[in-house]
């Protein structure tokens, strides 16, 4: 076994180097003996030529120990890197110089060290905390060998905003000396920021170089050197770096832990504005000590492999017999989202109808004609521009569907501002995470949203949809209201060609939508203008939604496409954050208002429509009988439910498209199609819609999908989608995006399923929910359907417990009547469910557990949270406490 100096650090990495100093603070002829961690000698000993060097620069009050995971991974890679992780002078195990080293000295110090080391070839800097600034200072002085920059939770402020409150406190003379030097408080507080907490031995290692007040002088000086204002000695040096990096065009990777009380998301946004080309990954739930909280080595080296400089060559895969060629992106003619609206600027027929207008719900329906809508969008765009909204700015719209939201969306699209749509269905915590992640420049909201924004400290300048009293305006920090924007727009509009100046790049970001969050924190999904337009075209071509169609918009995001489709859209009277509040009467009234031929409604809304259908008056029934098309997406709808919907909408063709926030729609199936497909392994979701290609990446024994798409029927694997309306990328989730696009030309959906001989797609569950048994990979859906055939079972979920590859399947069921407490199935239920599942799906269940209620996600109220359920079942079946899932 290799001798370790500290946990995770073999002795051979630790070395000392004598370095002559050229720092201004040192007298001429000064030599310092630096301590660093360096795998260079190890690589040289093996005769391995590294790809380049990672120069890792710690912050305060850590030391090179922070980078041990990079060192460990670097040597083991097929393309190894040298990693040089330094201990700054006065820090870690480098000597205490007895001098107050400021930022400029430290940048010079680092250059002295690399000169002495004689680093040759490409260097990628890696910095954390204030080490980020020093690493960038080094980068700016070594442009010729700089190959890239990696930053974790750092800041180069100084312009624009205050120091974080925590640092202000640390700088305060009353606490500074005591907090940072006399006592180890600053160290302890920093170490306590790790999420999850650091193991004891790791905490000890971080503390090791700073055991006495004398050893901690550097920690105190580091904090004291933070330039709080322009009078601070290091202000010019910091400004030089902060401005200098605007000229850096090398690849940049920003890995960020958002739960950082010091270097919060605002500093990430500041950096992004200076390094707009950077790849970003925010690790939701991670904090300041990101290299401790998460695996940063895999993404860092994965990212390095993908950089063109790093001579990375993926071997050309040889396609198998059933391989599907990499799809070429078909260049469909691009018609902007606003084209239809602009073409109808003189049309006086209704464009949008609100059954319950936002500012006066009791006043009855409000209608805007195409001409009025076009005019309002134009004024609003001009008003937003006057307020400072620019192309590329992110505008978070916290406004319920209706005329205001529609106008705002199209005004932003016109301006080239990026619409951020996060709905309250995510729950307050989820919504807050989503908004902080997206980091909007502006928030436009109803009062409740503005109150939430203030309380939860959401970023962005504030615009109110409604007029507010002065006191509330001040309280919420509202800069303008919608009415003021319209007025300002009118004033702007009097200038010639003010409105015509905007023509956003079709391939620029247009919108960010959020996933449901049923499989972890909601992810932002970025669409370009071209991709949004493609979504519109796919809907239009698949469902023949010609101009002149009138649709009830009860389901986002399709509902927002009405003006782009040239279709009249009506927003029914309902609480859109709770689809279950749509009543049959509200639906019928909305349909009657525009003589609707199409209805978009979520499955949960349909269930309530059926439940309240008895209250319909004859004329309301008549309005529904005119509907020709029903679209309901979000979750599969059981055939019996659809059959009842058909009775209510006798003339309608019922369709349940399958898709996801990243690509919608993907396939489509009608009620007749569902009946024709019958039962099988999974849920039949039909055939691909116009412009979409679907393929399968077969799963291996450990459940990993192949890198090669296949169209062979009957093969179960991850569902891959290719279409012009697939998302551009995940927002600030570089790792997630890279994984989702790892099969070139395809989007990996994370869903598992198979194609049948007729080309229909069957969804068998989520990739994260597959069960890897000793006998092979199993998907849960068929077993769940089999369990649900038992009269005593209302809803079933089948999950795997145990380690990967040796899992056993367990059914967790809701019973009729429901049990009061969770526990093993009683009486003959376990045996009967087990038999039903063996017979129908060939799967041997280890156990059947009954629960009062299965956990589901907030938005759809229908997707079972199987990951959580699996964790619970594993605990329950290990013995001891049962609890509830």
């Amino acid at each position: 076994m290799v001798a370790e100096l500290w946990p995770g650090v073999p002795a051979e990495w630790s070395r000392r180097v004598r370095v002559p100093s050229t720092a201004a603070v040192d007298p001429a002829g000064t030599v310092h003996t630096w301590h660093l961690l360096d795998n260079g000698p190890e690589l040289a000993g093996r005769g391995v030529e590294p790809e380049g060097t990672l120069l890792c620069v710690h912050g305060n009050p850590t030391w090179s120990y922070l980078w041990r995971s990079l060192l460990a991974a670097a040597s083991q890679r097929s393309k190894p890197w040298r990693v040089v992780a330094v201990d700054h002078l006065d820090m870690g195990f480098s000597p205490r110089t007895g001098r107050f080293r400021r930022l400029a000295d430290r940048i010079t110090d680092l250059g002295d060290l690399t000169a002495e080391l004689g680093l040759e070839g490409p260097v990628v800097t890696v910095g954390h905390d204030w080490g980020g600034v020093i690493s960038l200072g080094w980068a700016l002085r070594h442009r010729s060998q700089l190959a890239g920059i990696v930053l974790n939770n750092t800041a180069v402020h100084p312009a624009g905003f205050d120091l974080p409150a925590a640092l202000k406190l640390a700088l305060h003379p009353a606490v500074h000396q005591w907090g940072t030097t006399t006592s180890p408080a600053f160290l302890r507080v920093t170490h306590a920021l790790a999420r999850p907490a650091l193991p004891k031995d790791v905490r000890r290692a971080f503390m090791a170089p700073y055991l006495t007040a004398a050893r901690r002088s550097g920690v105190g000086n580091f904090v004291a050197d933070i330039p709080a204002d322009p009078s601070a000695p290091s202000w010019p040096a910091l400004t030089e770096v902060a401005e200098g990096i605007r000229g850096l065009d090398v690849p940049a990777l920003l890995l960020w832990g958002p739960q950082d009380p010091v270097f919060s998301d605002r500093y990430l946004r500041d950096l992004l504005q200076r390094l707009p080309h950077a790849d970003v990954h925010r690790f939701e739930g991670a904090g300041h000590l990101l290299p401790e909280d998460r695996d940063i080595a895999s993404p860092v080296f994965g990212w390095l492999d993908m950089q063109p400089a790093g001579s990375s060559q993926t071997p050309e895969a040889v396609p198998g017999p059933d391989a599907v060629a990499q799809p070429s992106t078909p260049q469909v003619p691009y018609r902007p989202m606003l084209a239809e609206l602009e073409a109808r600027r003189t049309d006086s027929s209704p464009a949008v109808v609100d059954m319950a207008p936002l500012n006066a719900p009791a006043a009855g329906p409000r209608t805007l004609s195409w001409a009025e809508l076009a005019g309002q969008v134009e004024l609003l765009a001009a008003g937003l521009a006057a307020q400072g909204v620019r192309e590329g700015h992110r505008i978070n719209l916290l406004v319920p569907p209706g005329i205001e939201l529609t106008s705002l969306i199209y005004a932003c699209l016109k301006l080239g501002a990026v619409v951020v749509v996060a709905d309250a269905g995510l729950g307050t915590a989820g919504l807050s995470r989503a908004i902080k992640g997206a980091g909007p420049d502006f928030i436009v909201g109803i009062e409740r949203a503005l109150a939430g924004a203030r309380m939860l400290n959401w970023p962005g300048r504030r615009i109110s949809v409604a007029e507010l009293p002065q006191a509330k305006r001040r309280l919420y920090g509202v800069e303008a209201t919608l009415a003021e924007l319209l007025a300002a727009g009118a004033a702007e509009g009097s200038r010639p060609d003010a409105a015509g100046a905007w023509a956003p790049d079709p391939d620029a970001d247009a919108a960010i939508l959020f996933t449901s969050g049923s499989t972890g924190p909601a992810k932002g999904v970025v669409y370009t203008h071209r991709q949004l337009a493609a979504m519109r075209d796919t809907l239009k071509d698949t469902y023949k939604l010609e101009a002149g169609t009138a649709l009830v918009a009860g389901f986002a995001p399709f509902a927002l496409l009405g003006p782009a489709l040239g279709a009249t859209s009506v927003t029914p009277d309902m609480d859109v954050t709770a689809p279950r509040t749509l009543t049959a009467a509200a639906l019928a009234d909305a349909a009657a208002a525009v003589q609707a031929t199409a209805v978009f409604a979520s499955p949960a809304a349909l269930a309530n429509v059926l439940a309240t259908a008895g209250e319909l008056a004859p004329e309301q029934r008549a309005a529904l009988e005119k509907v020709e098309l029903l679209l309901s997406a979000g979750a599969p709808i059981p055939e019996p439910l659809l059959a009842r919907v058909q009775q209510l909408l006798p003339a309608a063709s019922l369709h349940t498209p399958y898709g996801m926030t990243e690509a919608l729609p993907v396939t489509d199936i009608s009620l007749a199609g569902i009946r024709a497909a019958g039962t099988g392994n999974g849920v039949c979701v039909g055939t691909p819609v116009v412009g979409v290609r679907v393929a399968i990446a077969a799963l291996d024994a450990s459940g990993l999908p192949a890198s090669e798409p296949s169209a062979a029927p009957g093969t179960t694997g991850e569902i891959l989608v290719s279409a012009p309306h697939v998302k551009d990328r995940y927002d600030r989730l570089w790792i997630t995006q890279t994984q989702s696009a790892s099969v070139p030309g395809w989007h990996r959906t994370g869903d598992v399923g198979h194609l049948d001989a007729e080309g229909r797609l069957w969804v068998e569950g989520r990739l994260a929910h597959i069960i890897t048994t000793a006998g092979g990979v199993v998907t849960p859906v068929a077993a769940e359907q089999a369990a649900e055939t038992h009269d005593g079972v209302r809803l079933a979920a089948v999950v795997g417990v145990g380690p990967e590859g040796a899992q056993v399947p367990v059914a967790v069921v809701e019973t009729v009547p429901p049990v009061r407490k969770a526990g093993p199935a009683l009486g003959g239920l376990a045996r009967e469910v087990r038999n039903a599942v063996v017979q129908a799906a060939g799967l041997e269940l280890a156990a059947v557990l009954t629960v009062p209620q299965l956990p589901t996600d907030i938005r759809h109220n229908s997707k079972i949270d199987r990951a959580r359920l699996a964790r619970w079942a594993e605990g329950a079946l290990a013995g001891g406490k049962m609890g509830t899932p």
């Binding site: 380690p803 590859g805 156990a847 049962m882």
Partner: protein, 343 residues
């Protein structure tokens, strides 16, 4: 020599502990396969139908008796052990550790080629739940109870004796049951009849068990696959974990007894088990009680924490899968206890 002929070649095999249920089943299976079987035990083996093995009486504590038993043998399957939840440590050492050492020494000296040491997963169970784990290393210091500790030491001893020319493997069948089984089935039925069988916690802990025929087949198979198996410990189960409550209910039903309906928290049972164990031990020393305590800490742990295993390596090494499922085993159990009953 191909594997196939090796498998079919009749060999001289000594089975120790053949008076027990598993030992008896192993001897019977070997005979059925055409091997020449000799058994070694203190009491005469029970009479079974079919061919009868040669019997050598004696104790593992007697090296000369052991030498007589291994004389002329090609292989040994060692099942003899002191199996009990209670008893003095010295007794476990004498039979399980020293007895194994004697057998290993004598077998090697007698030119025996192969030895299967029948062990127990409890040698690597340290109290916490086991969910889908493989065969961890035996640890006499951390194993729970005298039986498991002594078996752990013996298994280490046996595997360390593995060498070219004297190949040793350890097979650890987990909770073996079947008709006539006194360790689990009859104990469960007896206690259930007396109303003394509680469910611990919710009876939800997943437990792997092994139907007797499968356990015997795996042990015999280990001898055939010695080339792949030697030097290793393999856990053997049916590979069908079930909640312990369901399993006990199944056994009770097969035995025609009402299944347990009352529950005791596992924590309480473990505590009570530890107390009873000590009391029983003290009473036993004074000759006051002969049978085992109604609850021991070991038993409470077994019944309230998950124990199920990853069988992939076992099945790969042995090139074998169990032939009797749990459901089929329960049917056979019912046929044994309630011959008139129709399934």
């Amino acid at each position: 020599m191909s594997r196939r002929t090796q498998e079919q070649d009749p060999r001289n095999v000594l089975v120790t502990g053949a008076s027990g249920m598993l030992g008896g089943a192993v001897a019977a299976l070997l005979l059925e396969q055409g091997h020449r079987v000799r058994t070694f035990q203190r009491r005469p083996a029970r009479a079974a139908g079919g061919p009868v093995p040669e019997q050598v009486p004696g104790s593992l504590a007697d090296p000369e008796a052991v030498a007589r038993a291994v004389d002329g043998m090609d292989a040994v399957i060692h099942l003899a052990a002191k199996v009990s939840f209670t008893g003095e440590w010295d007794e476990f050492v004498a039979v399980n550790i020293d007895g194994t050492r004697t057998l290993l020494d004598q077998a090697r000296a007698a030119g025996v080629h192969d030895l299967v040491f029948v062990s127990s997963p409890s040698v690597a169970h340290f109290g916490e739940a086991i969910a889908g784990a493989g065969a961890a290393a035996a640890d006499p210091d951390r194993a729970r109870g005298h039986y498991a500790r002594s078996k752990a030491a013996a298994e280490l001893l046996a595997l360390s004796a593995d060498a070219p020319g004297f190949r040793v493997t350890a097979v650890r069948p987990h909770v073996v049951w079947g008709p006539g089984d006194t360790q689990l089935v009859e104990r469960v039925l007896e206690r259930a009849k007396a109303g003394r069988l509680p469910l611990l916690d919710h009876g939800a802990a997943l437990i792997d068990t092994t139907y007797i025929d499968n356990a015997a087949a795996a042990i015999v198979r280990a001898l055939e696959r010695m080339e792949q198996a030697h030097g290793q410990a393999l856990v053997v189960t049916n590979g069908e974990p079930r909640p312990v409550g369901e399993l006990l209910a199944g056994i009770c039903e097969a035995g025609g007894v009402k299944p347990p309906a009352w529950r005791v928290p596992g924590r309480v049972a473990r505590g009570a088990g530890a107390v009873l164990e000590r009391a029983w031990l003290a009473a036993g020393r004074r000759g006051l009680v002969q049978d085992e305590p109604p609850m021991t800490r070991f038993l409470a742990e077994q019944l309230s924490t998950a124990h199920w295993f990853d069988q992939r390596r076992t099945r790969e090494v042995l090139d074998w899968t169990p032939s009797v499922s749990i459901d089929e085993g329960l049917r056979r159990l019912a046929a044994h206890y309630q011959p008139g009953r129709t399934a």
